[in-house]
Each structure stands twice: as structure tokens, then as C-alpha cells.
């Protein structure tokens, strides 16, 4: 059993962890980052769907009524995500949900967050795609939107388009270092300032530290790189300040397990969990109609038949982000590609398996996959935590989580509105047949878990202050997706990152008051 000390302990190395780690290290603090996943780089990322490759760094965590896809590696979600980098529309910050009062802290509006968004867009950096970057699949959505009287936009992405090969293997990590993950900006910059990043270190508990001058002690286990369900060495690290960023599925579980040691945690920990209102549908495009109705053609003669080609997210429609429309009716519809790992979820006319579904698979390259990000009701919650880790690992890349989610009528109304819009755009004149993914295999499926330990002004419904500090626990900050109070109607990564940037001054201030020689104001990392 090892024990050591640090100024600032950062738990998790995704957006919520890497960004504070950089600023604190650059400001002079001793920073230690513990990451439960392995550390991989471009040469390690494979173009393969063999079990044991991509699922070294991606987990599917199945709860009751919801399944979450989450990163599990140094760099967290940024390594495996699809890099869509959108600011949340202004109305999101004004959401009142079913509580009927503002859910975000009064201090936070879109205008207040815009400077922080701008910093992240510059640091990653984010590129605004143009039409020649939009994949064939994105082009089909755009052309269908235009024909139905809608608009459609190329999506900004954190991708170096000059390096990108449009290979469509983003879920496996970028082989070409084109995706601007945290492995290319904040994390190396933090390390250049002395931060220590320790992969395969899974924090199990947080408790008060008995060491003078140190506020928290974290126990951790070192995981076997060949089998994450096996643990080796265990240890303790004592810190003056803790930044908890284990992801919206990991953070509340660690706090729940630590509650008896910490003398309790706010009741809102592990409640108000949101799947970002994610709703995926699969359309099967009629190739002849794509040619005759949309006038599309590719070199070689096909109209479309290009599902697996190009960047996974390239086009989205903002037509249903009207700030004056009622809550639970607004959404973004986005073209997205998933590797055939998720084919099981697509629905044919008579369901998700059997003869018709097999026939549908034969048209796989003519599928168009759509992600609607709607306004959900924060109706998820976490039950009793497992003895160790964030969930019970049953196979490589597959786990059973303690979260449950039973969609309310309001959430379902949002999904129904998005479904109706997709039918109106894509089924017009028989262009395609579109159906949402089945809920029979995995419940609702989200790659965007949020809200399980959220910021807010009301202590009853938010575990964190508007400065991201856990109520009643000075020096313990949560800066990951768990802190985001509501679904966002866009992909959350840029908002999580902007909130983490915004949270840093308060973390620095708390560290300085704990005796750490640290200042705020480092320039953005340069990759």
C-alpha cells in the first residue's frame, strides 16, 4: 500500500479533469491526475471491431431503462467522441423543467458562458466545417431538409481537417491525430507544467485526510491493463483540493460510496440524471428516390449508399431550437454514424430482430442514422453503488450500472416531436423509412450522460454551488458532465469544457487559500 501527497488531485482525465489540471499545473500547483482507463496514443488506436480493441477504451454501461456509452482512457470522452462542438442555445440556460423554476444558476446564461466557449474553441481548436467536409450521409440529411423547407448546417468539429482521412473510426480513437482530443492539447500542456497523469488508477473512496494541511484522502486501486476487473496495488493520496471529474456515471457513484466517510453528501448527488434527451433513429434511404427526389449522385453512379464513409457527424438542423417554443418540444436533429456495433438496435417494420431486420441489414450502406437531442426531464437516478468501481464489469467493454431511467411523459413528448420531424423530412414522398432505435435491448441509449451531480442555486435540487463546489465540502469540486444541470439539445462536450474553464478560478482560489502557491491566468495551451 502506497501513500503520497499532492496539492490538487484530479479524478478523471476527460474534459472536466484535463482542463482544470492544465490551469492548476500552469499556475504552479502540484497536480496529480488519476484516470481509471489506459493511456493510448495514435499508433495504438486500431481500425478494428474485434472484441478487445475498441472496448479497451469505450464502455457500454447498462442500467435499468438506460444504457450509457462512455470513454475509459486517458483523455476520457474526447478520445472516443465524434468531436461535434456546438454551443448550447441560449434558451437552454433558462430551462425550468418540471420543477417550474430556473434550473441553471442565476449567474449562468449563454452570454455569461460565451467567453468560456470561445476559449475552448480556440484551445482544442474547433473547425467550422464547410460543405466539402460534409459526408455523403450529412449531404442526404441536408438535401432532404432543404426539400422539406428546412435549413441544415455543417457542424463545427474539433478536427484538424487537413490531417483527417474521413475514415469514420472516431469511436476507436483517432489513428491519424486529426481529432483534437485532450491528448493533443490540455493534457500534454498540463504535463509540461509538471502534472502527473496516472492511467489505470481507479479511485474508490474519498474521505477526510488525517494529514495536516491536507483536506481529502483518496483511496485507489491499480487496474490490470489486460482485465480491468482485476486490481493490483492499492494506495492512498492526500490532497489539499480535489477536482472530481469521473464522468456523469462515475462521479455520483464515487460520492455515494464515500458518503459515510465524508459525513454525508447532498441529497441531489445521484439524482436528476439526464441522457441529454438523446434519441437515435435509423432511416433506410431509397437509393432511387435519393437520385430522383434529391438529385444526388456520387462518382461511380450511386446516389448515396455511403453510410460508413466520412466523419461521423457533419450536418445538423437547428430548425426546432425556437426559444419561444414550449419546453420539451425543442431539439436538434443531427446526422451521425455508429459502427455496426449498434446495428442490433435498429428497427425493421416488425421489430429489431428476425427476417425483416436481416433484410434491412442488407441495405446497411443506405442507412442514415439520426441523433435527436431533446429536452428530457432529468428523471434518472443512481441506486446503491457497487463495492468498487463505477459499475459491475461483466465483460470487456460491457458493464451493469446502478442508474435507472424511466422516461416521463414530458421526455417522451420531446422524443415524439423529434420522431415526427424526422418522418416529415425523410419520409416525404417515400425518400426513406425511419424508425427510432428499439428500447427492448438496452432501454434508452445515450452517449451524453449529464446532471447526476449538478450545479444550481437551490440546495435541494443541486449538489454543487454555481462555482462547482460540493455543498458542505469545501475544496471538493465536480467539473464533468455530472455538473451540467439539464439536457442541452446539442452535443455536450463543448459545454462541459466551457464550464470546466469557468470553474477553474474558484478552484485556484480555494487551492491558494489552502496554502498552495498557485495563481490563475495561464495562457491557453498550444498544441
Amino acid at each position: 500500500m502506497s501513500a503520497w501527497t499532492t496539492d490538487v488531485l484530479v479524478i478523471g482525465s476527460g474534459f472536466g479533469g484535463a482542463i482544470p489540471a492544465y490551469h492548476l499545473a500552469a499556475g504552479g500547483a502540484r497536480v496529480t491526475v488519476l484516470e481509471r482507463g489506459p493511456r493510448l496514443a495514435a499508433a495504438d488506436f486500431s481500425h478494428s471491431l474485434r472484441l478487445g480493441t475498441y472496448n479497451r477504451i469505450v464502455d457500454v454501461i447498462k442500467g435499468d431503462g438506460i444504457s450509457v456509452i462512455a470513454g475509459n482512457c486517458v483523455g476520457g470522452g474526447s478520445v472516443v467522441y465524434f468531436a461535434a462542438s456546438l454551443r448550447a442555445p441560449a434558451f437552454v440556460f433558462e430551462r425550468r423543467g418540471s420543477l417550474r423554476r430556473r434550473l441553471w444558476p442565476a449567474a449562468l446564461t449563454r452570454a455569461a458562458l460565451d467567453p468560456w466557449y470561445e476559449r475552448v474553441e480556440e484551445a482544442l481548436p474547433v473547425t467550422r466545417l464547410d460543405w466539402p467536409d460534409v459526408s455523403y450521409a450529412g449531404g442526404v440529411l441536408a438535401a432532404a431538409c432543404a426539400r422539406a423547407g428546412r435549413t441544415c448546417n455543417p457542424v463545427p468539429v474539433a478536427v484538424d481537417t487537413a490531417r483527417c482521412t474521413d475514415c469514420n473510426w472516431m469511436l476507436s480513437g483517432c489513428r491519424f491525430d486529426a481529432k483534437r482530443s485532450l491528448l493533443l492539447n490540455y493534457l500534454p500542456a498540463a504535463e509540461a507544467h509538471g502534472a502527473e497523469v496516472l492511467p489505470l488508477h481507479e479511485v474508490q473512496t474519498l474521505a477526510p485526510s488525517p494529514l495536516p494541511g491536507h483536506r481529502y484522502a483518496a483511496t485507489f486501486a491499480v487496474l490490470d491493463p489486460a482485465d480491468y476487473s482485476c486490481t493490483g496495488e492499492v494506495g492512498t493520496i492526500h490532497a489539499k483540493v480535489v477536482v472530481l471529474a469521473a464522468g456523469a456515471v462515475g462521479t455520483p457513484v464515487l460520492l455515494q460510496r464515500s458518503a459515510p466517510l465524508l459525513g454525508g453528501v447532498p441529497a441531489a448527488v445521484g439524482r436528476y440524471f439526464s441522457g441529454n434527451g438523446d434519441r437515435v433513429s435509423t432511416a433506410v434511404v431509397d437509393e432511387q428516390k435519393a437520385a430522383s427526389l434529391l438529385g444526388l449522385s456520387r462518382p461511380g453512379g450511386a446516389a448515396y449508399a455511403a453510410l460508413p464513409v466520412g466523419k461521423p457527424i457533419t450536418a445538423a438542423s437547428f430548425d426546432h431550437l425556437d426559444p419561444t417554443a414550449p419546453e420539451f418540444s425543442r431539439f436538434t436533429v443531427q446526422q451521425i454514424y455508429f459502427p455496426p456495433v449498434t446495428n442490433v438496435l435498429a428497427q425493421a417494420a416488425d421489430g429489431w430482430f428476425g427476417v425483416a431486420k436481416r433484410r434491412m441489414r442488407h441495405e446497411w450502406t443506405s442507412w442514415l442514422t439520426l441523433l435527436a437531442m431533446t429536452e428530457d426531464d432529468n428523471e434518472g437516478s443512481f441506486g446503491l453503488p457497487p463495492l468498487t468501481g463505477g459499475f459491475t464489469r461483466v465483460a470487456p467493454g460491457i458493464g451493469l450500472g446502478s442508474m435507472s431511467f424511466a422516461a416521463t411523459a414530458r421526455t417522451r413528448a420531446g422524443w415524439a416531436a423529434a420522431d415526427a420531424e424526422l418522418r416529415a423530412v425523410l419520409q416525404k414522398d417515400g425518400l426513406a423509412e425511419v424508425r427510432p432505435w428499439t428500447e427492448a435491448v438496452a432501454g434508452a441509449v445515450t452517449a451524453h450522460p449529464l446532471g447526476s451531480c449538478r450545479i444550481g442555486d437551490d440546495p435541494a435540487t443541486s449538489a454543487l454551488t454555481d462555482q462547482h463546489e460540493l455543498r458542505g465540502h469545501p475544496g471538493l469540486f465536480v467539473t464533468d458532465g455530472a455538473a451540467v444541470p439539464t439536457s442541452l439539445t446539442v452535443n455536450p462536450s463543448l459545454t462541459i469544457a466551457a464550464l470546466a474553464e469557468r470553474a477553474v478560478p474558484a478552484v485556484v482560489d480555494r487551492a491558494a487559500r489552502a496554502g498552495v502557491a498557485v495563481t490563475y491566468g495561464a495562457p491557453l495551451p498550444t498544441g
Binding site: 460543405w131 455523403y136 432543404a146 463545427p156 482521412t165 482485465d227 436481416r358 442488407h362 451493469l400
Partner: protein, 229 residues
């Protein structure tokens, strides 16, 4: 099953999964006993033609049907012509050493057969004694039972959901094989999907990936960085 620490931990994890899902051990016990009485090979899930393997093949064939492999093939119902999950290697994936499932497969198969017995009894379906109960069901009834097991909130629903995912991974992703090699070798599932071929270095690149033209008007409230207002 060896008794090293890793195997024990895996077994514990699998047990935890089963416990979370319900309590199939108690449900499965009578069926397992019945199965072993008539099928000596039932305890070895990887033995070709064993009682367990036939049941798992029939389950996989219900999800992604394929054509019969030989005259008199009972596990594969022959609902279609062309490849299905069995031909694509579903049982190989389920019993893969990369997954902790293999030791549990006989029990899982026995549980499915127990459900098949109950399903048949409720509908007065006469099952042949020479094949496992699930295999004895027609394709239509197999479909009905799998729909019930995955569609209703039964105690063991998680088991069928995870099994369905793995069977589909076998067909849709050649989960036991490197993808580039599988595409080149003509893996039945990847070929059925028309999964594109990799370049000579085993990596995919798509220089031709876009229509290259503006295909829709932009939303009027788009910000300079390309976000909604």
C-alpha cells in the same frame, strides 16, 4: 475453469450480473437437470452439436436467421436463404476466451430451454424429445418467445439482452476477428452489410467522401462559430 484469481474475479463479476438480472440459477436448475438427463454433452457449451450449442445456435438464428447448413439441420430453422448469425460465428463469439461467459453457457441454454418448455406448455405445443426444447419450437414460436424474453420486464431480461447484443456483434462486426482480415476473408455478416474494404495497410481512408456542394440553406441564427444562437 481454472482457480486463479482472475478466473475467480470474472466468475464473481458474472455472478453479480446474474444476481442483478434476477436469479436464473434457481430457475435453471430443474431444466438443467432435465437437459443433462437426455443430453450428455450439455455441460460442454463449445462441443459442436451439444445440447447447449444447439439451443444457442437456435437463439442466434432467431435474431439473425440464415439458411440450413446441412439437410436435417434443426438448430438453424432455415427461414431464409443466405448467411445468418450462426454461419457468422455467433457461438464462437459467445464462447470466446475474451468474454467470461463460456462457463455459464450451459446454464444460459438450459434457462432458455426452460422458458421454451413453459412457452410450449402454455400453448399446448408438442415438443419433439430428440432436440432441446427451444430447438423444437418452430421459427415463428422461437420469435415469439425471444420477443417475450426481451420485451417484458422478466427477472432474467438482462441475460437475453446481453446475449442478443453479442450475437449481433458476431454478425455485424465479426467480433472474434480483426475487421480488415474479416472483410478480406469474406466474413458472412460483413459481406452481407457490404462493409467497405480497407486499404493495403489495413486502414480505411475515404478521400471521396462528400457531394461537395451546399445542399441546404443555413439556419439564419447561426453564430460565427457555427453554433445555434
Amino acid at each position: 475453469m481454472t482457480t486463479d484469481r482472475r478466473a475467480v474475479l470474472k466468475a464473481l463479476a458474472a455472478t453479480a450480473a446474474v444476481l442483478v438480472a434476477g436469479a436464473p440459477a434457481t430457475l435453471a436448475a430443474p431444466a438443467a437437470a432435465a437437459a443433462t438427463d437426455t443430453a450428455p454433452a450439455a455441460t460442454d457449451a463449445s462441443a459442436p452439436g451439444s445440447w447447449s450449442v444447439q439451443t444457442l445456435e437456435a437463439f442466434a438464428d432467431t435474431l439473425v436467421p440464415g439458411q440450413r447448413r446441412f439437410p436435417g439441420d434443426r438448430a438453424v430453422a432455415g427461414a431464409v436463404t443466405g448467411p445468418g448469425a450462426v454461419e457468422a460465428g455467433a457461438v464462437a463469439v459467445l464462447s470466446s476466451p475474451d468474454l467470461p461467459l463460456a462457463p455459464w453457457l450451459p446454464e444460459v441454454a438450459a434457462l432458455l430451454d426452460a422458458h421454451a418448455l413453459a412457452y410450449a406448455a402454455a400453448r399446448l405445443i408438442l415438443l419433439p424429445p430428440t432436440v432441446p426444447p427451444f430447438v423444437g419450437l418452430s421459427f415463428t414460436h422461437r420469435t415469439g418467445l425471444v420477443g417475450e424474453l426481451t420485451g417484458t420486464d422478466g427477472l432474467d431480461r438482462s441475460i437475453w439482452q446481453v446475449l442478443a447484443l453479442l450475437v449481433s456483434l458476431a454478425f455485424d462486426t465479426a467480433a472474434q476477428l480483426d475487421t480488415a482480415a474479416a472483410v478480406r476473408a469474406g466474413h458472412p455478416g460483413l459481406t452481407w452489410l457490404d462493409f467497405p474494404a480497407p486499404g493495403p495497410d489495413g486502414l480505411w481512408r475515404f478521400p471521396d467522401h462528400s457531394y461537395g456542394a451546399a445542399l441546404a440553406p443555413l439556419h439564419p441564427a447561426t453564430t460565427p462559430s457555427g453554433s445555434p444562437a
